[in-house]
Amino acid sequence: MSDLDNKSIPAHIAVIMDGNGRWAKQHALGRIAGHKKGVEAVRETVTACRELGVRYLTLYAFSSENWDRPAREVKSLMGLLEKFLKMELKTMLDRDIRLLAIGNCGTLPENVLKTLNEVISKTQGNSAMTLILALSYGGRDEILEAVRKIAREAAEGKIDPGDLNKEAFSDYLYTEGIPDPDLLIRTSGEHRISNFLLWQTAYTEFYFTDVLWPDFRKKDLIAAIRDYQGRERRFGKTSDQLLGDIP
């Protein structure tokens, strides 16, 4: 069904799922209905990524700033998250999907955290794909937290600041052990990073679409991947260097 090059499917796709509120407004509905509809798009995206052979999928489900939204909306988002985890556990087990969470998860309500940890531990042996939910996540917080840890360890004499390099620093982040995203998709026509994976997206290809998240379907994902496959990833080098013509 897709004319994608199966050899260069991005190994890690990250998504900023924007536009639930706008979708709801366009449909004369409340914001919460928009989030519920957004869950459908999550389900379809997870399934499609698994089918296409994407190894890592990171979804920006709830940012550390989202706590400032109206209490009712936060509460229903938490409820949706818990319901999603409970309902999708079977699918994740059937399809060999491992769940991970990044972010300041300790701030989640107790019951949600409990369900989250259950699903994480039940799926930890799965290996076909890793689904990573960014929950109460903030990119600056993540970097700060890493710096604090490093400073503490340096003060205790456990590490020598001189030895710290990019790879070693990455291990202090929530995303320890997860490769950097190859492709970042943001829906709903916004062109911002919104404090998402600041360190990890240094060489990530960005793809923006006007489609609102609840309307995002497999065909939109394929369009994003096709666009990605048409790009040349140079990682700061010249095209010729990539071809190996010039040493």
Binding site: A28, G34, E40
Partner: protein, 271 residues
């Protein structure tokens, strides 16, 4: 107590009471019941269709619902001009509110679509129950409609549970199977034929068979359509099957399609 058992018990208590009220009550009593049900259904439609910011639209849907059902009450099956007028005026009124909203800001067709739909679904569809009651043998025809829906649902449940293999429409309703749908048809036709034998002997067996078969299929479509309507506004989650739960629209979704069909079949073909 299991939800399944509870459904049976509420059914066994509620059905005789409702049946007695319909049987012994006159046309006005029955119409009041229909109008209350119509308003409840319309209110539920409103909640699934509009956010809290659309108070005018919600009120308009309820007023149109009242208007159409009152028109049905004051009409006779041989002259439905009043119903047609109520539907048409309610429909036109939708456009006035639409203009008012557009004057306020962004042009969005969605509220217009939703208010206009509500004039027909659920309001006009439910109003047909008031009209059926006005036909000759109206009380028994009402019972027949309920029976077609009830027998179909029950047969679908047991056929699905025992033989269900192939999913009917998994993206709309997770639990429904093709086997259940076939069982539903058999259940409706069988129950309708037994009912005819004892209570509506004037209608031919062939008519009742054809009518109950077609009505059942429409009823199942009505059920699926209601689920789809709710799903389209994000209100239902696939896999979330809660027996015994759900609002009035979940209960009457198949009746909404069966009632009007039975009405026109009887009026134009049988009578």
């Amino acid at each position: 107590m299991s939800p399944h058992l509870m459904r049976w018990i509420t059914g066994l208590v509620a059905v005789p009471i409702l049946a007695a009220v319909i049987y012994f009550g006159n046309e006005a009593v029955f119409s009041v019941i229909v109008i209350i049900a119509a308003l409840m259904a319309c209110h539920e439609y409103n909640r699934t269709a509009f956010s809290d910011d659309f108070g005018f639209e919600r009120a308009q849907c309820l007023i149109a619902c009242l208007l159409v059902n009152f028109a049905a009450f004051y009409s006779s099956p041989n002259n439905l001009s009043l119903v047609l007028a109520a539907v048409t005026l309610s429909f036109l009124a939708c456009f006035f509110l639409f203009l008012y909203r557009c004057r306020q800001g962004a042009i969005n067709l969605e509220p217009l679509r939703k208010t206009a739909l509500s004039v027909l679904y659920p309001s006009l569809l439910i109003a047909h129950f008031i009209l059926i009651r006005k036909l000759d043998n109206g009380v028994f025809l009402i019972f027949l409609v309920f029976l077609i829906a009830f027998a179909g649902d029950t047969a679908a449940f047991y056929a699905g549970r025992n033989f269900g293999k192939r999913k009917l429409m998994p993206n709309v309703s997770a639990g429904k199977t093709v086997e259940g749908a076939i069982g539903s048809i058999v259940g409706s036709v069988a129950a309708a034929l037994v009912f005819r034998h004892f209570l509506l002997p004037d209608i031919s067996v062939l008519h009742v068979a054809v009518l109950s078969l077609a009505a059942n299929i429409l009823g199942q479509a009505g059920d699926l359509c209601e689920s789809t309507l709710k799903r389209s506004s994000g209100l239902k989650d696939s896999g979330a099957i809660l027996p015994g739960h759900g609002g009035i629209l979940d209960r009457i979704d198949s009746l909404l399609f069966i009632g009007p069909f039975v009405y026109y079949y009887i009026y134009f073909i049988v009578l």
